[in-house]
Symmetry: D3
Subunit: 226 residues, 6 copies
């Protein structure tokens, strides 16, 4: 059974690589790899936002800003490869073709961003479609999907489960197409999982036990969209 | 001065290639090529929708459905290359890198879709960002942007001009991420031109004089977003 | 044991995809996949001929006409991937290197055309050489090789078996290097199987039981060249 | 005006590179480069035949034999690049896409073989189609096309000009699809120039004045097919 | 006249991009671009060293450490593209083939690292060989080549000029093949410029007037190797 | 357990392919392939030196000279593929990404050179780093590492084992960066195995029993660096 993880860049790299988190996640993936065929799409985090800001400051295009952000997602994927050692395919997949080919190695496949204008959440959704993943697990620094942004609205309530169309509606209000904006899940990604009806789990990445439950399709403290 | 055209697939190929339209568009582009450095992104039209439907009928993934649709966009781009002859770069650009390289030939560059999940309108917006286009001209089978879909709502009013944020708001309600859905302009494309503030013209493609005015940045019967 | 199938485009796509045939063929391949390692090269059929004709009508080169035809072969390969689901490598191989790599997935590998000027029969023969296939099975809409074209010459007699040199001689008279010409087997393909002495079976594709026999190297109603 | 040269490997490399010929040809091309936009496809010659024979001796496939032969064609192309210096595009084009892109450099473009099963004459014909060459000049070690092989048949008569269909008929009898067979012009190449009606000149490569006349479309001692 | 610049990463990015330096360098390159055809190879600087260290800390291979460092060199190249705007080829060349092709655009070409194990100084030397550059200008944070490391040895004396063999001898003692080691010029790079006898100038990058003199082949405060 | 072999070109191809050696080596590799996962990097030998010399003679760059030499390494790799038949991955890996992907086939992977300026010994060291090889075995025409070149200095003494730093020191004196120079082990390769502490065995390639011992990590007549 194939599972795609979309790991928020802010978990992997909030300025510097979070070595403890990277190692803990690697341990979990290694433990589960005999039962699940895993592909992991890594976000860019703070470095991606900073690189993109530098490009803009120098007068570069948004396309170029996104391209530097993509490089940061690949660095993060490499950190996870380093921690996974032999259990990871040794090179970051740069596009869907490379990812699909790497899956045949039987190892854990790491991917970052692909092209400008597209978030790594969208990449994860497209990869899940391509390889026929049973589910997507989204690891971010919030513990599920709320009726509003819980960092701003104290009264926001977390969904334990929701439908694809509910998700799409929530997501529609936020997207801004700049490298490094942080949201629960990109609207395009939402629409992709909705069109293909791919069960998607949203969990707080730092609670590694929740992540495990989500990968295994068990009950967890986050939100399940199906 | 660089101008990117996004040509709706339904204009190029409403089932069969529309030879008259293709030739007329080619004539216009040839006429303008000494003044403007042109890149043309072609949509898939009816064949793209039919191919995607066939894939779904056979049980294939949405990713695969999109991939067949991309092939149709490239066929349409080839028809335009055929009509342009020596004035076109002789091969369809398959990604942004190839398109940027082909621009250095000084010839008209043709492109279709790139990856699944992304419309050719989005490709056009990304290409415009990359090459620093002065404006985008969107050719479709409606004559501008309306307050509502003019095919369904008789009271819909056409904008002669509108702001980027107005456009983004209108577009937010429609997108569905399936190959071949036809809308004025994909929401991601809208957000991309908004983030980069690329002046974009929406014209009815069959009124070739309007298209010329739009390419030249002159007044026309369609809608200007800036 | 590796077997390469060359499937005539007219079987897969006589204008529209032949869903019944595609599903039936997929069923057979799925049934045989544990015993044979299969690669399938798909032809372009009617759409390829029509696309090529459109290119010519618009003044495009024969090279470009062939390129559109190649896109049609890839669409047909995607239809078969859709029908095969998990049993197929999920992406169409675009060249021999990709096909050889995809073979290592253990799944059924789908390929269309490669470069202009070369038929998919030739691609099938080259692929068979590269991967060391035990035999090629050619599925077309005729039920074997005749002394003359059975559609034109009522007195034509079918060979149950023939030598490589007999095949080469017969094929020499027909080839025309235009996308979409339909012949039993391209002359270059004939010469390739002759130089490598690859046993090749010609069967009527719609008689799926004959196809099975041919794949398994058993007696069938078509023609065996060896 | 674009002209494609197909230079026989036996001229460039009859065992060792023929430095005198390579330099003389380079001088001519340099002299003509301001008037003609030149692409040169190089054959493999003796080394190609020897490499292919070694592969066969070791039990390798014909596909692999052809691949080694392709490497030899690229070595020969590099020798010509070396002799042309700044006037050549500095890298050998490995496929038609690279060749078309390199043409935009304005420099002389060098190419060798592309894929197994295809001769460099065929590559030259395809390239001529793609770039819309006005003519092809074939340089070999015979001084034109004869009614029979002049090395074997003393009564063979040289054509000063002939039609495409005459050429196709003559060529049909010889082709064998083994790397390094030496013929006037590969049958597929003949059919390609016939389908696209590309004027083709056959001259003895060592008579450099004849080569110049052929490139310039003037009368020469060889054979013109048109 | 072609000139290759090798710009030390510590100049471009001593932790954060040095916006002032990047802009100043961009101004100079823009000013000189009509007289010199420029290619710029960017080093990785502090981020490259930090990324490589993170990979090692997580147990990753030196190969992977180098790969992350290469990503940092490309980020730095993108910062320079951003500052150069229209005057730069809009995408970073990832290998020599891409760089050679981008040179034909007539614009300033940016490149970072290529493969693990190879410094950007070596990349600059190889690129200079490939495109036939008249000279290389090495910008670093030391103002020339000394008899010993001037940061450690107060008595070190600067060469105003030296021979290739002198340079090779000096360089032989230092190289360590880890991403991010900082030396005047990598030993392999030294040997490459020696074998091709490419005049190479070493200047303190921050003294932009010295850099200009070096690019123009005029006298400057650094070291000339020839 | 993965083992990388670096096979000297002079063993594989001292002017002509050494069929006896190639077959003997292929036999050994085939015998060991169930116990060791093998990758073999082939050198260029005499043909590489001759090709490079021809390029120089014609006025070509050292870059181009290296490129022809790389083609020769790939020819040699193909000869070994031919001899290995089904046990080899059927195509030569052209870069590290292709080699890593081919390793997942479970077959013996063949590689030649990668880019100019880099020896195949260095390629072998980089590949060993990437795939995490347990050891490298270097096959050359000398039977180990000596205190001096045994062909020139009769008093040279062979090391049975030595440290990485001893190796690096010895190697530092020789490297010249010209295609086809023959040394025990390229200095960069030495530094790479030192930085990654990859146990490396140097054996006389023609004593196939010594080669087997080295692959198996057993005692042999050559030199072990660790």
């Amino acid at each position: 059974m194939k599972v795609v993880l979309s790991v928020g860049g802010s978990l992997l790299n909030p300025g510097q690589p979070d070595f403890a988190f990277i190692r803990e996640l690697a341990s979990l993936l290694r433990k589960l790899k005999s039962k699940y065929h895993l592909a992991v799409v890594c976000g860019g985090g703070m470095p991606a936002r900073e690189h993109a800001a530098s490009i803009r400051k120098l007068g570069g295009s948004e396309f170029l800003a996104d391209e530097t952000a993509v490089l940061c997602t690949r660095s993060n994927a490499m950190f996870l490869i380093a921690a996974l050692g032999e259990d990871a395919y040794p090179l970051v997949a740069k596009n869907f073709k490379e990812a699909a080919a790497a899956m045949d190695s039987g190892r854990i496949v790491l991917m970052g961003g692909t092209i400008p204008g597209i978030t790594t959440d969208t990449d994860a959704a497209l990869l899940a479609e391509l390889i026929g993943a049973a589910r997507i697990v989204n690891l971010s620094n919030v513990d599920g999907i709320y009726t509003a942004d819980p960092r701003k609205d104290k009264g926001a309530k977390k969904f334990s489960s929701m439908s694809f169309s509910q998700l799409v509606q929530l997501a529609s209000q936020h997207d801004e197409r700049k490298a490094g904006t942080r949201f629960v899940f990109d609207i395009i990604a939402c629409k992709l999982i909705a069109r293909s009806r791919i069960e998607t789990h949203f969990v707080y990445g730092k609670e590694i036990h929740q992540v495990q439950n989500a990968i295994e399709g068990k009950k967890h403290a986050g939100t399940i969209v199906k």
